[in-house]
């Protein structure tokens, strides 16, 4: 016991430090140039979803072309490349990263750890405005001569800046500038997320009492702070290659019969830089999704998460390992076979902590009291989809399997499953879950069910057949196949089918948007804590949480976030801020 006493000494005084709260003085500083993390979260989300819609429309155009080649005069080969590039980049960076970290991170971190706001609110505000600028620069590239870049979302030099590639002039430069801006903006936000988690938790909220959502977002942010610099380096050096004619990445090269001035640069160096960012990027998107799903299934199955400590470790280990697997994207770049062996091994190792997470989710659900609410449906759909995409990832992680499948539709199917469909499902689940907190009203259930089933089944109808096309050898990033002998007629029929489904799924999203708007006015009143969750964001005085998040006093935490199905507790759960003695009874509200 004496030891325990000493420990408490070392931890320091148990007082909640009062932060200097920023107070909005006018409408503009309250809703536009706001420093309140919740407003910034909504700004981030709205911007991300708006630009995500552009990417969605681009995917329809691509699908139209693939399903019905030679039917659309307005889609030329070079347009197709531009669509691919912008679709891929927007989805990965400007939608998913911004939404998970800038959107959910900003909204949930302060509320879940019991803070009044982020620790550097001004910097946080700047982060959003720079992000918006990055998006606008990206959009501007659609309107410059030559259009946006068509280099593929990987932007590999030398082709990215050679005249044969669409958008090789202004398009690519704007793309690179936009990425650089995004990274600067993100770094400002990321600084906030990490420091807030470390320094602004409320009393009693130790790291190992944090909900897994916070762990996921926190670790993902650390990854992003360490990985995005690589993309920044690549972007800066490629911009110089393009604008000043330097040769960082440009080798000696003949383009369209003309010997260019560049010489001696290394395109492979760019690939390393890109994937040193690109692989962790997968986990920057996946870790918040892991965290959120853990919390969703725990709340909606009324069961504590199985193996909490293991779940935290898995998140941290996956994060660390994600920095040593990047070259599995470069098996066909002519690398040393020993290198390939090394990266194949690390890639397979990373499957272990990932599998642990899946087992723990399954065990949490095992014989639990599962409520098939919309968030639960989306969480379950995520688990299934992630396993599906993860397994094809194991195939592609092996050099011998990857070489024939590389650059086929199989790869497209794999990464859409694992980092396209799966995280989007979590985002929907999370929106259905936290919408009542953000607006005070529930989303409409019937519309939600319709949205879920069409999206879930539709995604499988789109992407399962694409695996098969990959086996047939249909290459990715091809404008059209023409009359290629190894591609049977049935593949064309399949492509038509996929396109039709893709359009239907796309339209179904309109139902979701309608639901979001409709419920804001007409939705059922949610009241306090409709899902009976334990975490702090649901224990605020007002719903939606007001300025400063909590009332006069910050909540004090006495337990972990997973006291569900507690025998004897009046409501089968105990919120994190309920003191032990009064545990079974609910505090006066």
């Amino acid at each position: 016991m004496a030891e325990v006493g000493a420990e408490i000494e070392r931890i320091g005084p148990a007082e909640v430090e009062d932060v200097e709260l920023y107070h909005a003085k006018s409408w503009i500083t309250k809703y536009v140039f706001s420093q309140d993390a919740k407003v910034i979260a909504i700004q981030y989300s709205a911007t991300a979803i708006a630009i995500g819609m552009v990417a969605l429309v681009l995917s329809w155009l691509m699908r139209l072309q693939l399903g019905f080649p030679e039917s659309f005069d307005f889609i030329e080969a070079q347009d197709y490349y531009q669509f691919i590039t912008m679709h891929g980049m927007i989805m990965v960076v400007y939608l998913l990263t911004a939404l998970f970290l800038g959107g959910f991170g900003n909204y949930l971190i302060p509320l879940m750890v019991g803070a009044r706001d982020m620790v550097f609110p001004y910097v946080n505000m700047l982060s959003y405005w720079i992000y918006l600028l990055a998006v606008l620069v990206l959009v501007a590239s659609f309107f410059v001569p030559g259009g946006p870049t068509g280099a593929g979302w990987t932007l590999y030099p030398p082709q990215a800046i050679l005249t044969g590639t669409p958008g090789a002039g202004a398009g690519i430069v704007l793309m690179l500038v936009s990425l650089a801006l995004f990274i600067i903006g993100f770094t400002m936000g990321g600084l906030n997320y990490v420091t807030t988690v470390l320094q602004a938790r409320t009393r009693g909220m130790t790291l190992m009492r944090m909900p897994l959502t916070v762990w996921g977002i926190f670790t993902a942010t650390v990854l992003a702070l360490l990985a995005f610099p690589a993309l920044f380096v690549g972007a800066v050096m490629m911009t110089l290659d393009s604008v000043l004619g330097t040769s960082f990445f440009m080798p000696t090269i003949v383009s369209q019969g003309e010997l260019l001035k560049h010489d001696g640069g290394s395109p492979i160096l760019f690939q390393h830089l890109f994937w040193f960012f690109g692989h962790p990027e997968v986990y920057i998107v996946a870790l918040p999704a892991f965290g959120i799903v853990s919390d969703l299934i725990s709340v909606h199955a009324r069961r504590h998460i199985f193996g909490y400590r293991m779940m935290v470790w898995a998140i941290v280990i996956i994060g660390a390992l994600s920095f040593v697997v990047w070259a599995h994207h470069m098996y066909v770049s002519g690398m040393n076979p020993y290198f390939g062996f090394f990266f194949a091994t690390t890639t397979l190792i990373i499957a272990v902590p990932t599998a642990i997470k899946v087992y723990n989710w399954t065990l949490t659900l095992w014989r639990a009291n599962i409520n098939f609410t919309l968030p639960m449906l989306f969480a379950l759909a995520f688990i299934v989809t992630f396993v599906n995409g993860g397994i094809t990832g194991l195939f592609l992680g092996n050099v011998v399997v990857d070489v024939p499948l590389s650059d086929t539709m199989f790869v497209v199917a794999h990464f859409h499953m694992v980092m396209g469909v799966a995280p989007i499902l979590v985002i929907f689940g999370a929106i259905y879950h936290w919408y009542p907190l953000m607006t005070g009203r529930m989303l409409n259930e019937a519309m939600g069910q319709f949205h879920f089933w069409v999206t879930f089944l539709g995604a499988y109808m789109i992407f399962l057949p694409i695996h098969y096309l990959g086996f047939l050898g249909v290459p990715r990033r091809y404008f059209e196949m023409g009359t290629t002998s190894f591609i049977p007629e049935s593949a064309h029929t399949l492509n038509e089918f996929i396109t039709v489904v893709a359009l239907i799924v796309g339209v179904a999203q309109l139902v979701f948007f309608y639901n979001v708007v409709w419920s804001m006015i007409k939705g059922k009143k949610a009241g306090h804590n409709p899902w009976k969750a334990t975490t702090l964001e649901w224990q605020t005085e007002e719903v939606p949480p007001g300025h400063g998040n909590f009332g006069r006093e910050l909540p004090v935490v006495y337990r972990w976030a997973y006291d569900y199905g507690v025998p004897g507790a009046e409501d089968d759960f105990v919120p994190q801020n309920h003191p032990p003695k009064r545990a079974p009874a609910r505090a006066a509200e």
């Binding site: 325990v4 920044f232 380096v233 935290v312």
Partner: protein, 204 residues
């Protein structure tokens, strides 16, 4: 905070609950702004190291033609060292509560940082006049790139410095001191970065 130790905690045991309930909620005793700065410096370190990796990767190729090191670079380096020294003296002064001395040192530090930047621009001009363009050799390209990067980071530091100077007349000592602590850390960091870059440029 030892992360491994944290991760090994068993939050469900009665003993740990007692410790956890008393936990103030912070991971570090450090002031929040300082921690934020450290995290930022970590990200910048990653960024700059990647440039150094790219540099070393390119340096070994045979077409690398190192450029002459103008003597002015040595002078600039001295000025930057002087700037850091002035910062440090200012920090000591503000810690001791000698405000006048602190103000003078702060102004000297910022002033010499500006002189350093102008000096770097002058070096660029000299090199361009001598015909060392960015595009003509990778060594030149890297030289301009690294100096520009360092300069931009220093410029960012000067923005923070300006905000600190603006507070000189009315800010309370506690906040001035915090600002000074942060600026000094950043200044020393950039000095080290410059010394590494300079060594790299000399070495090739």
């Amino acid at each position: 905070m030892n992360i491994i130790e944290q991760l090994r905690q068993k939050p469900w045991t009665a003993e740990q609950v007692r410790i956890d309930d008393a936990h103030g909620g912070r991971a570090y005793v450090l002031p929040t702004a300082k921690l934020g700065l450290r995290i930022l410096l970590t990200a910048i370190t990653v960024l700059l190291s990647l440039f150094v990796v790219a540099y070393s990767d390119r340096m070994v190729v045979s077409d690398w033609r190192p450029l002459p090191e103008p003597w002015l670079l040595w002078l600039n380096t001295l000025v930057l060292i002087g700037s850091s020294v002035a910062m440090q003296r200012g920090l000591i002064a503000v810690r001791q509560g000698r405000i006048e001395r602190f103000k003078a040192s702060l102004l000297v530090a910022g002033g010499s940082a500006v002189v350093f930047l102008l000096g770097q621009l002058w070096v660029w001009r000299q090199l361009v006049e001598l015909g060392y363009f960015a595009a003509s050799n990778p060594a030149n390209a890297f030289f301009y790139l690294l100096t520009a990067l360092h300069g931009l980071h220093l410029l960012g530091g000067l923005v923070a410095w300006t905000r600190l100077v603006a507070r000189l007349t009315h800010g309370d000592t506690r906040r001035l001191r915090m600002g000074m602590e942060l600026c000094t850390i950043y200044w020393h960091f950039l000095l080290v970065v410059w010394l590494i870059f300079f060594a790299l440029l000399l070495y090739s």
